[in-house]
Amino acid sequence: MSETQKSMNPSRQFDELPDAPPKRKIRLSWAGKIGIAVLVFWAIMVVIGPSIAPYHEAEFLEESLFIVPGSDEKYPDTDFQPPSRIVLLGSDYMGRDTLSRILFGARTTIGISFIATILAYLIGVTLGIAAAVGYRFEYRGFTIIELDTVLSRLNDALLSIPSIMLGLVMIAALGSTIPLLIFLTGIIYAASVFRIARSLGQEVMVSDFVEAARVRGEGLWWIITREILPNVAMPLATDFGLRFVWVILFISALSFLGLGVQPPMSDWGSMVKENLPGLIYGSVAPLIPSLAIATLTISVNMIVDDISAQTGGKLAKRMIS
């Protein structure tokens, strides 16, 4: 048996209150550890990136910087320049420094995607659990509307329109300021979070321990906070990683269609897009932001893999959609 499976047999000691799930210890593989290191690196860059960048993200580099000594060319090209001492990672299609844009962009990209994912979770989980516990609007004892039904239909509708179309229409209609971008992305992704949270919640609701709690006469709030949330927290946390990555890619797809972060701010997705013409010249300008996205994605998923391998459960099922 492999190492991962060995570590999966937890010693069953109930050193806590019986109604709380047993404490899980997660041991990370080397891949997971690298993942953590990369994440920490980017987290630091989010904070200090702009202050250590050699240039400003919007700065057009002066042509004089690129003059080769001895050459009589007064105005050399500044765009799509290969990495050199002046521009460590080369320059982009308008002659701006790629490294600086990556460093500034870390804040925008990770910031927007992170907040949007959090928002998606706040909305999705709240509504998902509310639907799962079967909240209904009653009037004199008659059920008027079941929350689950209403939310599920709305959710089906949102999910059945391809998210890129939804994003295109909504952002084109309402404008692409950063708060709106976050808000709309949050809503669009809340739909899939809702689906997961609801099904997780429903599973917990029919479990024996919730039935027992009900028999004991515990209130709905007690059940939600003490039984449901602890039991769905881990799978949801795992899903968060993947969702986060999809949000980054979603925003980059939006910038392919011309919506997304406003110039001259940089975000990694639009950096890939706007520098695509450089690919044909063999420029690294479109590859570097893509590499940055990949490091983030891969490290998040390495950690997710480690966690899911060790927490067991039907995690995988919930990570779809």
Binding site: A58, E59, F60, E63, Y75, D77, T78, D79, F80, Y93, M94, G95, A172, G175, S176, G258, L259, Q262, P263, P264, L276, P277, G278, L279, I280, Y281
Partner: protein, 527 residues
């Protein structure tokens, strides 16, 4: 047919231009006449055209609104298709010269208010019916009236009526003089369709190619019309017209030989096309420009110093050098580029980048921040705005850019937001360009700059036949716009396309992509 020979020779020598034509018609009251048969690009006259084969042309935009109805067409792909299916009365070719098409000859009275067109006989529509004056009347009347959705309605505002004299003669009367009318008739929207056509998707005009298939937003296929009236062109067996909206994909399709020509080459890709064998750049200097509109009827644009500050901060040389890669000219804050020929005012001093003066003007205006709406309406405009933003920041002015999508831009942003970007295609004449954008009270006066003197000059220059006086008037108009209007025009860009080196015979008309879009009848492809 001596006249034709003379004409042909003049044309080959590059002597016959639009201006000469006008003076011939307007001042002398002569009629212009020529037979078909000389209409091929001067650059291609030496080679013998190869007959046969087919080409695929890739434009930059298409959609469910693609149309074969001349009067509502607005995009390059529509224009190309108009030229395969239909003919106009007059056509424009190399060096902006005018040539008879369905009108065999035309004459004008001494004050340019009455035109008589003699129509070509023996021309048939694709369905076999004969072409006559009724078709011209019906087609031209579609541009008139309140309910007409024609996109060149404004050109025909002075039309009193189109009148049939006999089966092949029509007369046009105008309420005010217009020596430029023949040029306006060369517009794609003014193509002649069959009387009482209701379904335009068949494209059943008199043109050189028949529509075999037409799927809006996908492609169209055109095959040679065996009963065409002119026998010098139609080298290709078939033409396919499609669009590839993604600029990189369009370029890659050309480079890998999947299409034979493409419209709108991005300046960033010029180098690649130049260094690749088998493809070449088509770069035609034009009046096409990108600019910034400051609405004069509202803040901040109504402050002259503010607008002047924005003009002074334009690093025009750098824009042309690094964003247009040299395929353009610095603008002088008026739309009339050197491509307009004699009407361009070269006496007017070129405005240059001067941050100190810009700072002085902006300080004087008391404005320290503004918001500019930017849509990628034209290659180079976004870069220009970003550069302007950076240079303004250096002198302590905060320019915010608000990026909006191109679709819906003309209805929702342009002429509405106080500061917005704009692009204008070259118009056939300097007067047409100036009157459409700066005519007082006009529909497209997009800076809301209503100048009485400008209105007078526009009218006077249209009736003026003395070249020196005309030039003087145009100079005065350009100076007015240069100093007083709400426009900032930092650059004029060349019309940039790319094609396979196997295809030849395009004209150099700068009014549209791929030599003015009218290539279908005249190009050929090496076997």
């Amino acid at each position: 047919m001596k006249e034709v020979k003379v004409f042909q020779q003049m044309y080959r020598d590059g002597q016959v231009t639009r201006r000469e034509f006008l003076s011939v018609m307007g001042a002398l009251g002569l009629s212009a006449t020529a037979a078909g048969g000389f209409l091929a690009s001067s650059s291609a006259l030496a080679a013998t055209p190869n007959r046969g084969g087919s080409v695929i042309s890739a434009s930059n935009l298409h959609g469910p609104d693609d149309t074969l109805d001349p009067i509502v067409c607005t995009s390059t792909i529509d224009y190309i298709r108009q030229c395969t299916s239909y003919n106009g009365l007059i056509q424009i070719w190399d060096n902006m010269s005018l040539h008879p098409e369905l009108a065999e000859e035309w004459s004008v009275n001494s004050n340019a208010t009455e035109y008589t067109f003699k129509l070509r006989k023996g021309v048939t529509f694709h369905d076999g019916s004969a072409f006559s004056a009724d078709d011209v009347l019906w087609s031209m009347n579609r541009h008139l009236g309140k309910d007409s959705p024609s996109s060149i309605k404004a050109f025909f505002a002075a039309v009193v009526e189109w009148k049939k004299i006999d089966s092949h003669t029509v007369k046009l009367s105008l309420s005010s003089p217009d020596a430029d009318m023949p040029i306006k008739l060369t517009q794609f929207q003014a193509k002649i369709v069959k009387k009482d056509t209701t379904d335009f998707s068949k494209g059943a005009g008199t043109g050189p190619y028949l529509v075999e298939a037409f799927q809006p937003g996908v492609k169209s296929v055109h095959v040679r019309n065996p009963n065409y009236w002119r026998d010098t062109g139609q080298h290709l067996d078939a033409i396919e017209i499609t669009a590839i909206t993604d600029p990189n994909a369009r370029l890659n399709a050309l480079l890998s030989g999947d299409v034979d020509m493409m419209t709108v080459l991005s300046a960033k890709s010029i180098k690649k096309v130049e260094e690749t064998d088998g493809v070449e750049v088509m770069s035609v200097p034009a009046g096409l420009y990108g600019g910034i509109c400051c609405l004069k009827n509202t803040a901040p644009g109504k402050d002259d110093d503010f607008v002047m500050g924005l003009r002074m901060i334009q690093d025009r040389e750098k824009i042309v050098r690094s964003f247009l890669k040299g395929h353009g000219q610095v603008g002088n804050d008026h739309p009339i580029s050197p491509a307009y020929g004699a009407d361009h005012c070269n006496e007017l001093a070129q405005r240059t980048y001067d941050p100190d003066k810009a700072k002085w003007h902006l300080n004087k205006s008391g404005i320290s921040s503004a918001e500019l709406f930017v849509a990628p309406v034209q290659g180079g405009i976004e870069e220009t705005c970003l550069l302007m933003q950076q240079n303004l920041a250096k002198i302590g002015f905060d320019l915010k850019l608000k990026k909006v999508p191109t679709d819906g831009y003309w209805g929702a942003v342009w002429m509405k937001e106080p500061l917005n970007v704009v692009t204008w295609n070259m118009r056939p004449t300097a007067n047409a360009m100036m009157s459409i954008q700066f005519g007082p009270g006009g529909n497209w006066n997009d800076t809301f700059w209503n100048n009485e003197r400008m209105g007078k000059l526009l009218k006077m220059s249209l009736a003026e036949t003395d070249p020196a006086k005309r030039h003087e008037m145009h100079c005065e108009m350009q100076t007015l716009v240069h100093n007083d209007a709400g426009m900032v025009i930092p650059y004029h860009t060349n019309v940039l396309d790319a094609k396979s080196t196997k295809v030849h015979g395009f004209s150099n008309v700068p009014l549209g992509q791929l030599g003015g879009n009218g290539w279908a009848e005249f190009i050929w492809k090496d076997a």
